[in-house]
Symmetry: C2
Subunit: 227 residues, 2 copies
């Protein structure tokens, strides 16, 4: 038996353990009636700014908690708390490029799940590794920002394949960057035929109603094929 095969076995073992842990976390959320969202994107695509706008938009409607994953700092959790999250927990992964279910467990322990309707988990900024690790949430929301360009689904297929919703953020900058929504959407739909693709701008508010509507109704059909 050579070393390559041994290494692959370790990875598969890690994934099996992670999936089992994720199932347990989802059962905890279900028991408490909490809707869990796993928000994934490249660094700097606007996840935290979107969370801030989402918190303001849902104020008085849903009690939202935020768990932020980052290599370092508590910048994101601080911003979420300031924007109105009922609770914000920062997970610093050290050098780890994604969240795993076992990192979420102690963060959930810090939350009063009975007092929460919606849990937004902001994953580490990375379009690759987070796609491979379930963390116990119900829906995967993948963000690509307009400045990143239309080619992201072609170059990072894994994360778009597993998405339940795809948001194109910084939509107010789409013209500036000549973002080609048709080529982007063709790429996404080749991987994931019926996924919702929703351009929006947290800055101007465009598209925010559809996004908040999806979160509030928790009914994917409401806004499927928004474009």
């Amino acid at each position: 038996m050579n070393k390559r095969i041994a290494t692959v076995q370790v990875v598969e073992n890690i994934h099996a353990i992670n999936d089992a842990q994720a199932e347990k976390l989802r059962a905890r959320l279900d028991a408490a009636g909490v809707h869990g969202i796993n928000l994934m994107s490249a660094p700097g695509s606007g996840k935290t700014t979107l969370i801030e706008a989402t918190l303001r938009g849902l104020a008085g409607e849903l009690a939202v908690a935020v768990i932020d994953g980052d290599i370092a700092t508590t910048i994101d959790a601080d911003r979420a708390a300031a924007a109105g999250a009922v609770a914000a927990v920062q997970i610093n992964t050290g050098g780890n490029c994604h969240l795993e279910a076992n990192m979420l467990a102690p963060a959930l322990d810090r939350l009063d799940l009975a007092a929460i309707d919606l849990l937004i988990v902001e994953n580490v900024g990375n379009l690759i590794c987070p796609a491979n690790f379930a963390i116990g949430t119900h829906h995967n929301v993948v963000i690509a920002s307009a400045p990143e360009g239309w080619d992201k689904p072609y170059k990072y297929p894994g994360i778009f394949t597993g998405a339940d919703v795809v948001l194109v953020t910084k939509w107010d900058a789409a013209d500036f960057f000549e973002f080609d929504l048709e080529r982007f959407s063709t790429g996404v739909r080749a991987l994931n035929r019926d996924v919702m693709i929703l351009p929006l701008s947290a800055k101007t508010g465009e598209g925010m109603d559809a996004w908040l509507g999806w979160l509030t109704k928790n009914d994917k059909e409401q806004v499927t094929k928004a474009i």
Copy 2:
């Protein structure tokens, strides 16, 4: 001995093997008089667009080859070839979130190193994992684009710590996104005191002369502390 410790040993072993391989690759480049650059950034920060502008700017001065690392597609190598690279090789990593030295070796075999002055390796779009794997090049160039925001060095310290040059791309969009260069630079310099930080725009050409000058002269002191 528990499993966690065993796993760490495997990782250290991988890094030692990678570093040894990287040293061999650097010796090959040195023997051929090739200057090797490892270009790292988040997805969509403008690496490929910068490479295109660099190739046009260095036409007639330096013979440039490009090695592109991506999860999938040959979009980037195709663009480099069209923009004037004397050779372009695409490495598809499958799902791997970074290049490793052993992936570069077969790509170097495809190049006529004697005919090349400058080798630009475009790493996989990721601000985390590429920082941990030497690939045999001489300099690490880290890109953060203005739309990504000023907080990147605080949230992704590892990659900025190891940078020889930091480029802030899409500088023509800095005002649109209210990019705070002072907070960004403070964060970078806390990790890496004397690194060159250079704002530029491949679109308008601003800052390109300093970047091309650094590449042409291969003398880091020339443009240190460009801001």
